[in-house]
């Protein structure tokens, strides 16, 4: 869950935080967003990344590399 915590990248909790853990809007917002966060990655994306990776390594081989 740490990835979705409402704090700054430096780890410092925010002071003026209108969406903080205790605010109703903040809670609903995270509930809404968590509902959109499916942990399953569809095949189309894993396939796409593999294709990009393959294309790149072929290009590197063919081009004798940078």
């Amino acid at each position: 869950m740490s990835e979705y915590e409402t704090r700054s990248a430096s780890g410092k909790p925010r002071r003026d935080d209108p969406l903080g853990a205790n605010s109703e809007i903040g809670k609903k917002l995270r509930e809404y967003y968590d509902g959109l966060m499916s942990p399953d990655v569809p095949d189309r994306f894993t396939d796409l990344l593999s294709q990009l990776e393959t294309a790149e390594s072929q290009r590197k081989k063919a081009g004798g590399n940078e």
Partner: protein, 183 residues
């Protein structure tokens, strides 16, 4: 592992967040996934411009957001998903109680101006700092802060109106009076 391998792992890890952000922008899961696909291709092409050690997720969100707005500009504004087909298709955590509330919340969120909605999502849900959100949106930190605070006020107004009606005429009066100020 090679840099490219690490980069790929980073992209994979970011996909759930990217999809969620894309849905919050486009309100449509098909469009959202197309947007994510575009983002991945673009990110791959310009991976040399990513500085390892900096925030990959923020970098990817910036690409996705730019892609979204450039597509919108190209197409002109399309009619949004007013039928809520999105709502029906999205997985909602089964453990969630108060799903009715959540539906109201989503409807309220969709009524916010885009700039306020993205600010509130980046800050309140995606876990970015104000500084990171400002960078993603290409604007000043103060602008993000004011968008978030206007969004919060507007959401409160909308939700008290769309609640179960136990707020009485005061809530309606507040909304009428508040709507001018929130514009």
């Amino acid at each position: 592992m090679s840099d490219a391998g690490e980069f790929k792992t980073g992209l994979l890890k970011a996909i759930p967040s990217l999809r969620a952000f894309a849905v919050s922008l486009s309100h449509n899961s098909d469009k959202a996934d197309d947007l994510v696909q575009e983002t991945l291709v673009k990110a791959w092409d310009k991976q040399t411009s990513f500085q390892p050690g900096t925030n990959l997720k923020a970098w990817l969100f910036t690409i996705l957001r730019n892609e979204f707005y450039s597509q919108m500009r190209k197409r002109g504004r399309e009619v949004q998903d007013s039928e809520g087909t999105m709502t029906a298709r999205l997985a909602v955590h089964p453990s969630q109680h108060g799903s009715l509330d959540l539906k109201d919340f989503r409807a309220a969120l969709e009524r916010l101006p885009e700039d306020q909605r993205e600010a509130v999502v980046l800050i309140g849900a995606s876990g970015f700092s104000y500084e990171e959100a400002a960078e993603i949106c290409g604007c000043a930190v103060g602008t993000i802060k004011s968008r978030v605070s206007r969004a919060r006020v507007r959401l409160q107004e909308l939700l008290s109106i769309e609640g179960e009606g136990d707020y009485g005429p005061d809530a309606i009066a507040a909304q009428v009076m508040g709507s001018g100020a929130a514009a």
